[in-house]
């Protein structure tokens, strides 16, 4: 038998590194001793965390709970994730908004202060460089978080464009929040537990909204968001207070909120129909193809003004050639790169993410098929180890989302 969770970590790392030649070389040669550690590393190990290499970091893929149990517990009670490997940064200056609008598809100017959204950084061909959650703190301050595996190229990309922008007189600067750590508290108990640790009324903070506030005695950046489909928060905490906060959250939940690793996080985001950059989204995939048309603000569809706008606006007008869709299937769980065929045996696409859904107790997957063949209910064959397996297209999310929104 070959393969283990350790190799899974390697596999994800390689996928994330794909398309970034320098990163590939560096990561392939990184020994485990050279992996970066979050401030929670020893805490993870002490709690039975199985640490694996992930995007250059030593991260917990699982704790004592199985991945199956962790996934289900997140949706029933709650999960606490260390996502400090992701990169948080702030853009500041009078022109921070117009600067960022050159790089992402979101209507940043249209965001109210204290609100955020999922967006995509695009390249000149309209392909996705990374997806990111951006938040407008004030009209001259944007806080954003980018994926760990994309950090180096994202920062290089932003820096390059910032130099050009400033050379033309633009007022923008940045700060990378490496002095902070990031926790994701997700699930139905997230809000009641966190409420114990802050005086601010969290029932008035809705999905996508942001606050700077005191939590458990330290100044945190709080966003009501996550990548699980559940109600919950991402909490940026000064690193020196991170451990105290993690312990306080676990203590307040009396054992119901569980430490949860990247393995369950991947199951949760897949069940929620969310893209994993490096699998479901890459440099050659546009936001339109990825099903993120909703993330292009109305004004931006009219005006463009972001990298690759010509390609994207054309796809908006004519429709894309391929589309991301969901699948149910029988037999072995589909994995990335499984071929998709129509019932006549013709290739119509490829799986980009798949696995067994702990909540649904059946196989789920997402991938890209040719436009015109993307209707829910369409029957397909998914080829795994050379054998066809029955599949059917479905809308996503697979598990309904529970974002906290005004009723």
């Amino acid at each position: 038998m070959r393969g283990s969770l350790w190799q899974l970590g390697q596999s994800i790392t390689r996928r994330l590194a794909h398309g970034d030649k320098k990163a590939v070389a560096r990561r392939c040669f990184a020994s485990e001793a050279e992996l970066k550690k979050t401030v929670f590393h020893d805490f993870h190990v002490a709690h039975g965390g199985k640490m694996v290499p992930f995007a250059g970091w030593s991260m917990p893929i699982q704790y004592k709970d199985s991945i199956m149990d962790s996934t289900i517990n997140c949706r029933q009670n709650g999960s606490l994730f260390d996502v400090s490997h992701m990169c948080g940064l702030s853009l500041k200056g009078k022109d921070a908004v117009p600067f960022l609008e050159k790089l992402v598809i979101a209507d940043v100017a249209g965001l109210a202060p204290g609100t955020g959204t999922l967006t995509v950084f695009t390249n000149e061909k309209g392909g996705a460089i990374d997806d990111s959650v951006i938040t407008k703190v004030t009209d001259d301050h944007i806080y954003l978080v980018v994926n760990a595996g994309c950090r180096d190229k994202d920062l290089a990309h932003i820096e390059e464009h910032m130099k050009a922008f400033k050379a033309k007189g633009g007022d923008v600067s940045w700060h990378i929040h490496d002095e902070r750590s990031l926790l994701a508290l997700q699930g139905p108990l997230a809000a009641p537990v966190l409420q114990h640790l802050t005086k601010e009324d969290l029932s008035k903070l809705f999905f996508g909204e942001f606050r700077v506030l005191d939590i458990n005695g330290s100044q945190c950046f709080l966003t009501r968001t996550g990548y699980t489909g559940e109600d919950g928060f991402e909490i940026s905490v000064p690193s020196e207070h991170g451990l105290d906060l993690a312990k306080a959250i676990l203590e307040k939940s009396e054992g119901k909120v569980r430490l949860t690793g990247l393995g369950a996080r991947d199951s949760l985001r897949l069940e929620a129909g969310l893209c994993l950059y490096g699998n479901d989204m890459e440099q050659h995939i546009t936001p339109i193809e990825a099903g993120l048309t909703w993330a292009i603000g109305k004004r931006r569809r009219a005006e463009g003004g972001f990298l690759g706008a010509d390609v994207i606006l054309k796809q908006l007008e004519e429709g894309p050639k391929i589309r991301r869709v969901g699948f149910f299937s029988s037999g072995p769980p589909p994995r990335s790169h499984s071929e998709i065929q129509d019932e006549g045996g013709n290739n119509i696409g490829e799986i980009t993410s798949g696995g067994f859904s702990p909540c649904l107790q059946k196989n789920i997957a997402m991938g890209y098929v040719k436009s015109g063949l993307h209707k829910a209910g369409t029957k397909v064959k998914i080829i795994i180890r050379g054998k066809p397996n029955e599949g059917v297209l479905t809308k996503m999310p697979f598990v309904p989302t529970k974002y906290y929104k005004p009723s």
């Binding site: 070959r2 283990s4 991945i67 393995g263």
Partner: protein, 165 residues
Amino acid sequence: MALRMWASSTANALKLSSVSRPHLLPPFSFSRCLSSVLDGLKYADSHEWVKHEGSVATIGITDHAQDHLGEVVYVELPEPGGTVSKKSGFGAVESVKATSDINSPISGEIVEVNKKLTETPGLVNSSPYEDGWMIKVKPSDPSELDSLMGPKEYTKFCEEEDASH
């Protein structure tokens, strides 16, 4: 220093205990590191076990293997009548997060396949050495078994492999 020695001797005692009484779950938090290993079986470095009785050898994956995999959600096995070759793959195990090939420790003809695993793949987790068996093979060369590891050797192999990751 003394504390470290104490911990080390305790771990050794636990290992002995788990070898001689495989169904006794050690009470300590690091018990996951002490997957059970049975006497009377032979083991491959790709974490399959073989039990040779008479003209038939039964094959499955070890407790150590299923522990690393996590919950098994699908087992893909060949049809009876086919052949397997030493060190070559004959099937696959799917967990929530990973796919792993299963290699045969020996060569021979497949005479029986565990059909229960189609409906209940979790047997590989709950009973890797008994109900979770995978295939039965008529060995073409029983002497191939001689090059496989015994339980003590395999236990040491697993410890070294885990330590290196």
